[in-house]
Amino acid sequence: MKKFAIAIHGGAETIKPSEIDKKKEEEYRRGLADALKAGYDVLEKGGSALDAVEAAVNSLERNPVFNAARGASLTQRGETEFDAAIMDGNTLRVGAVGAVRYVQHPISLAKVVLQKCDHCLLVGTGAEEFALANNLPLKAPEYFVTPEKKEAWLDKQQERAVKKRQPGSMSD
């Protein structure tokens, strides 16, 4: 029997069980099961490990409960920026993108870099233009922002504002 396998993660963080309700837990488990199936189906049909990891990560990038593409954390400016990388263990070819916006599937852009670019890592507008040149789907900024991440960002802004007001802080 031919051997194949896939494993995935959706992030690791230090949190208490009380911080996650049953509904959220269920969303995580369902999202993980969906992504696992997406990758497993590729392998079961004889597909490559490269296509399988892309399919699994695409599923997680579309799912707003995971911090990648849709559902991403917000930068200090309140914007979303993505990083992604993919590597082929056979050829040692790699494709990576950094600080890109608007690209619906950053891992698919990384894979096109692996397949079509002489470089390993493209960042910012160069990577976005490479996505355009290869007809990858782009999305408006609001597609990526979830209420939950917006709230986390607002909390951070308030935290920073309080720190600024404390005596001895930078502001005069």
Partner: protein, 134 residues
């Protein structure tokens, strides 16, 4: 951050990592995910690795490549190499870490110092495994 590692029917490994970064990070900050050898690495000779957690510590520890090197050059098993990479330089490099790795026989290892890692695994003709806390 999300990631995947896989072994296909031809015995090839691959790794992929994608992330939305850290809340409140500076514009232009790039984390470990796209740094080859930091958050993502794959080589058929040993393993495929995808990391998650405090990106700066993972980059400075070059953790994905460390898992590979501890297997290839020091003869560690996949799980031992993964566990060691989680603890590596813990005195100098603080922060959450999660490592997902798979060797060229399809074995998987999860290492994390957070008590919570969203993860899943499925081998050929086996039932899927999904876990969070356990």
């Amino acid at each position: 951050t999300v990631g995947a590692v896989a072994l296909d029917m031809n015995g090839n490994l691959a790794a992929a990592t994608s992330t939305g970064g850290l809340t409140d990070q500076l514009k232009g900050r790039v984390g470990d995910s796209p740094i080859i050898g930091g958050g993502t690495f794959a080589n058929n000779e040993a393993c495929a690795v995808s990391c998650t957690g405090e990106g700066e510590a993972i980059m400075r520890g070059v953790l994905a490549h460390e898992v590979y090197a501890m297997m290839k050059y020091a003869g560690n098993s996949l799980q031992a190499a993964t566990d060691k990479a989680i603890e590596l330089h813990a005195d100098k490099l603080q922060g959450d870490r999660g490592i997902l790795s798979m060797d060229n026989t399809g074995k998987v290892a999860f290492g994390f110092n957070t008590g919570f890692m969203k993860r899943g695994y499925q081998a050929a003709d086996e039932e899927p495994f999904v876990a969070l806390w356990e």
